[in-house]
Amino acid sequence: MTKTEIKKLKIVVEKLTKWESSGKAFGHFNVLVEHATHLKGADRLYEFFCFMKILENLSKNYKIILQPGTKSGKIFPVAPGNKKYWVYFKAEHNTDPTNKYQICYGTKIKLRKAPKTSFAPDISIQKYDSTEDPDETMVELIMDAKFKFKNTDTLPIIQLNDFIQRVTALETINADSISLQFSSLLGLKGNCLLTNGNALNGHETYCKIYKIKQVEKFDTESCYNVVG
């Protein structure tokens, strides 16, 4: 490598490791070591990719309409946010006018009986008439995304337990029987824990009982596999 190439390498690394618009660090952090950085929401690019994959698939059967947030316009939250401020999507079925939903990213959903407690699944499918301050009665299906530093890493049992707790609290145990119609991602109709890594073996029955699915190898290239 020449001195000129070294200088170019420096520029390339400087460019790729920060956001062009804000100058803040770009990429994933906490996947490596928990709390390695104070950066909130630094690991959301995989989560957003999962959201986009779901949206893309639904767009085959639904008309997708962007719903701007009251404060942010067309900006998505990098950390769990109040629904009314941030952008989300509405999906209206191409042929069945009664089949329509909201598709939300990172929005907080409060518990009716404990309104100070809320959960913010990475992806939530909500009723079409869900309000700007939704509770569990307005949410139909939830998904969480877990990025693994090594794609050979496995979902730990604690993440399954945590997700089951969310599904129970948000009462989305019937997610697999709603009228939502995927195009090719048929196995994903349900409460899914999506990961670029591997599913935890031996817990298929546990997942079925508590109505969650582990979706492993969900990335840009691999063939994903559903467990549960």
Partner: protein, 220 residues
């Protein structure tokens, strides 16, 4: 330059003579050699290590200037490590968990390069790939709104410097990602580091830690 000291006389006599070894066509900038000189530990302000009128260079350092035979492996590690903004902090935390001796002294540069690549792959390149795929989908679904879409932290404070817009970032990735991979293939071939540096460098830097410019207050 030759230095001759006669200590037998009543007084000390030091004579210095110079001869031109080589005329350079291009400017020789200290920045190009900061990872090849043993004395340099301040990578932000390396000139601080040259505040004496005369000082000694090791042979291999001298050759670095004359022959442009720099310590390439260390230069690559240092250049990348000091260009990656807050990811330097992420990398240090990561490396302290798996190979802490690299931070203390006697850094094995082959190992450091491999770990650095692993880090960049999972922390930067894969997320960049995810963002590009996400952008492709957004462009298809909401083509008119695509350029206005980004990420923000606080809805009431969405200024340019704290909003992460997707479209310009994807442009940066498209402009530079392939170039980065090209450098990677130049450094590694089938997973093996192909650079063979002058063996004298290994001796000179045998107890030297990774060349990191610590930025304690970097909040990016």
């Amino acid at each position: 330059m030759n230095l001759r000291i006669n200590t037998n006389e009543e007084y000390k006599e030091i004579s210095i003579s110079y001869e031109i070894v080589k005329l350079f066509d291009d400017e020789k900038l200290l920045d190009d050699y900061i990872y090849s000189f043993r004395r340099i530990t301040n990578y932000t302000n390396p000139i601080r290590h040259f505040n004496r009128k005369y000082s000694r260079l090791f042979d291999v350092e001298f050759d670095a200037i004359i022959e442009d035979n720099i310590y390439l492996k260390r230069t690559i590690v240092g250049t990348v490590l000091n260009a990656m903004h807050s990811h330097q902090r992420g990398f240090i935390t990561y490396i302290s968990g798996i190979e802490p001796e690299l931070l203390i002294g006697g850094a094995d540069l082959d190992k450091a390069l491999e770990i650095l690549w692993d880090y960049l792959k999972y922390a930067i390149l894969e997320p960049a790939n995810y963002l590009m795929k996400s952008a492709e989908i957004l462009k298809l679904i909401v083509p008119d709104e695509f350029v206005e879409i980004g990420f923000g932290l606080e809805p009431h404070k969405l200024y340019k410097n704290n909003t992460q817009m997707i479209q310009p970032q994807v442009q940066i990735i498209e402009d530079h990602l392939q170039e980065f991979y090209n450098y990677y293939f130049e450094i590694f071939i089938v997973g093996k580091i192909q650079i063979q540096d002058d063996f004298r460098y290994k001796n000179l830097f045998y107890n030297s830690p990774l060349p990191i410019k610590i930025k304690p207050n970097d909040k990016n």
